[in-house]
């Protein structure tokens, strides 16, 4: 049995009596010590998925069906004591903007020591010693000084290291990272990614890395799931997805990564035309259909489920064989699409 299993998860927002399905039939499995990257545009539901696992959804959102099980325990509707046992202790989370993820009025020492106390019950000088050890683990050169600092005195990279130290204080078995490098400088991004990979191996944690950046996910994760408008459209081993994408959306995402070679050619860098659908007005069939150059009438009929297209490679596209064979070319087919921004929490 996998460490974390999610099956057909549905999460809905209720706003002025209307329901918006922000996660629709999401399934995933995470093995102990495994790595999973979740990529997708802003508002596709990536962060919502992590919040659902952590049970820190906003007030108006709720799990309406599906199953989340962590080591055999039900996390879809957890009891108070299950949550208290799992949050922070078994599953840790780090957030996008480290400057706001730390409490501005408490020193680094107060925040780490509190986390150690709450998740492990260690207090006093033992907790302080452990805090120093954690800061060294996240490769902070001068833990003595950083312990006394307040968040506003830290750089973004340092603050993210402190956040990571807090998240791993109880050596959780799963670390959920929500766009951990997005708010950082490019050079710092690489360091933080390397640090996360090292820590994962050292502590034998499983890592779920959410990012809109395919390159970030490719560096850190063995497996990738691509999310679009609240559902996975493709998932499989990172190498397979990067080398032989089978969903037009994945192809589009990959084509929109600038590379040095592609920059020279005009057709090298492509953008997917249109915008993602709003959650209030989802297409009846395939959700990518309005933006897809391969769309046919069939695509508009019913939801397209994830099916196994190859060994360990699932895709939700009726035309995945064509995609694999001939690829997809965006741009020529500039179809009108809804222009409102999608409902979501990621900025």
């Amino acid at each position: 049995m996998s460490l974390l299993e999610i099956e057909d998860l549905v999460v809905e927002f209720t706003l002025s009596r209307r329901r918006y399905r922000v996660l629709d039939g999401v399934s995933l499995q995470l093995e102990s010590g495994g790595t999973l990257g979740i990529v997708g545009e802003s508002g596709s539901g990536k962060s919502m998925l992590l919040r659902t696992i952590m049970h820190v959804l906003p007030n108006r959102a709720a799990v309406t069906s599906g199953r989340i099980s962590y080591a055999g325990q039900n996390l879809a509707r957890p009891g108070r004591e299950v949550l208290a046992r799992i949050r922070g202790r078994e599953i840790g989370m780090i957030l996008q903007d480290p400057m706001t993820a730390l409490n501005p009025v408490l020193s680094v020492e107060q925040q780490i020591v509190e986390a150690i106390g709450a998740t492990r019950g260690t207090k006093g000088s033992a907790a302080r010693g452990r805090a120093m050890e954690l800061l060294r683990m996240v490769e902070i050169a001068d833990p003595q000084r950083i312990m006394r600092a307040y968040p506003f005195q830290l750089s973004g990279g340092l603050a993210q290291r402190v956040s990571i130290a807090i998240a791993i204080s109880a050596e959780p078995r799963i670390l959920l990272a929500d766009e951990p490098t997005t708010a950082l400088d490019v050079t710092v991004q690489a360091q933080i990614l390397r640090l996360l990979s090292d820590l994962r191996k050292r502590l034998h944690m499983a890592l779920v890395l959410v990012s809109h950046d395919m390159a970030v996910v490719a560096q850190a994760c063995e497996r990738v799931a691509v999310m679009y408008a609240g559902s996975f459209v493709e998932r499989g081993a990172t190498t397979d997805i990067f080398e032989a994408p089978r969903h037009p959306y994945t192809v589009g995402l990959l084509a929109s990564i600038p590379t040095i070679d592609a920059g020279v050619k005009a057709a090298g860098l492509q953008a997917i035309p249109g915008t993602p659908p709003t959650f209030g007005d989802l297409p009846a069939g395939c959700r990518f259909e309005p933006r897809c150059p391969l769309a046919t009438d069939e695509c508009r009929q019913d939801r397209v489920p994830l099916i196994a297209a190859a060994v360990d490679h699932d895709v939700a596209c009726l035309h995945h064989a064509i995609v694999a064979e001939r690829g997809v070319h965006f741009g020529a087919n500039d179809r009108p699409a809804p222009s409102q921004p999608a409902v979501g929490t990621t900025q």
């Binding site: 952590m54 007030n59 409490n103 501005p104």
Partner: protein, 294 residues
């Protein structure tokens, strides 16, 4: 001035602070802080050491020396019973500052706690506390206090109860708004994802981040409380004679206003001085603690 009077919502107690603030508006934060701090420091020292500084016993009668104008022996003259006005003004400072400080602090405590609860817990707690605020605001504060003291009896404890019951709402609204804003911030989400209990998140993580505006308002609000208390004791609902108290002293001086102006003038000046000092201090603190506003 008439504009300032026209747009005030509740009674005389709120007009003076606004007028004072209008007049002081152009001075910079730091000088306001220093000036207000010095005035209040001065008043506080006088209040604390009033028993040392006062040349006479504030309640001892001396009918041979009644209604004397200010002189070397009696700096602020004497009242109808021959009591030294200067000594009485000094002793009043102790009582009035104490009532203003405690009364305002109880409002701050009750209001902040209720506002924090309403904002953080939301749902039923928010609705209940919100309605309670509406109900309290619907009544004119001073009338409620007068009614309350008439029913419960004249005492310092009942005065505090009255001030707190009518004065907490502003703090509750301030802190509720700040809490609503803070609740959605990532550090609260991090705290939740670390499995912290809600009381811990509410008091240790959210409260220190939302209390500053309420604390600034506390200092400014003390002006209102001083004026409220002196108004109440002018009406005979505050500390009872012969206890010296600024409002009560002015009330007692009323029959002699034309012959012995000094009995009413000096306690009045003391109220103005304290009010200006507190208003300056409050404004200065607001500027110093919230630099992002300008």
């Amino acid at each position: 001035m008439s504009i300032a009077l026209a747009d005030t919502d509740i009674g005389a107690g709120k007009v003076l602070p606004r007028v004072i603030r209008m007049m002081l508006g152009r001075y910079s934060g730091r000088s306001k802080l220093i000036a207000g701090g010095s005035i209040i420091g001065f008043v506080a020292i006088v209040a604390i050491f009033s028993h040392v500084i006062a040349p006479y016993d504030p309640i001892k009668l001396n009918l041979n020396a009644s209604l004397r104008p200010p002189s070397g022996a009696h700096l602020m003259g004497t009242d109808e019973f021959g009591r030294d006005v200067f000594s009485r003004v000094l002793y009043s400072a102790r009582l009035d500052l104490q009532i203003a400080a405690f009364g305002t602090f109880f409002c701050f405590l009750a209001g902040s706690l209720l506002g924090l609860t309403a904002g953080f817990l939301g749902r039923v707690a928010d609705i209940l506390i919100g309605r309670l605020i509406d109900v309290v605001i619907a009544f004119p504060g001073i009338i409620v206090i007068i009614a309350l003291i008439s029913v419960l009896g004249v005492s310092l404890v009942n005065l505090y109860i009255g001030i707190t019951i009518t004065g907490w709402t502003a703090y509750a609204r301030l802190v509720r708004g700040e809490t609503l804003a803070a609740k959605g911030l990532p550090y609260v989400e991090s705290a939740r994802s670390l499995g912290y209990s809600w009381p811990r998140i509410m008091f240790r993580h959210v409260m220190p981040n939302v209390i500053t505006p309420a604390f600034i308002f506390l200092v400014t609000d003390m002006v209102g409380t001083i004026l409220l208390v002196t108004s109440l004791s002018y009406l005979g609902l505050g500390p009872q004679p012969p206890t010296p108290e600024w409002g009560a002293m002015i009330a007692e001086a009323r029959p002699f206003m034309l012959q012995a102006w000094w009995i009413a003038l000096f306690p009045g000046l003391a109220i103005v001085l304290t009010g200006v000092g507190l208003a300056l201090l409050g404004d200065g603190l607001a500027d110093a603690l919230r630099p992002e506003q300008d």
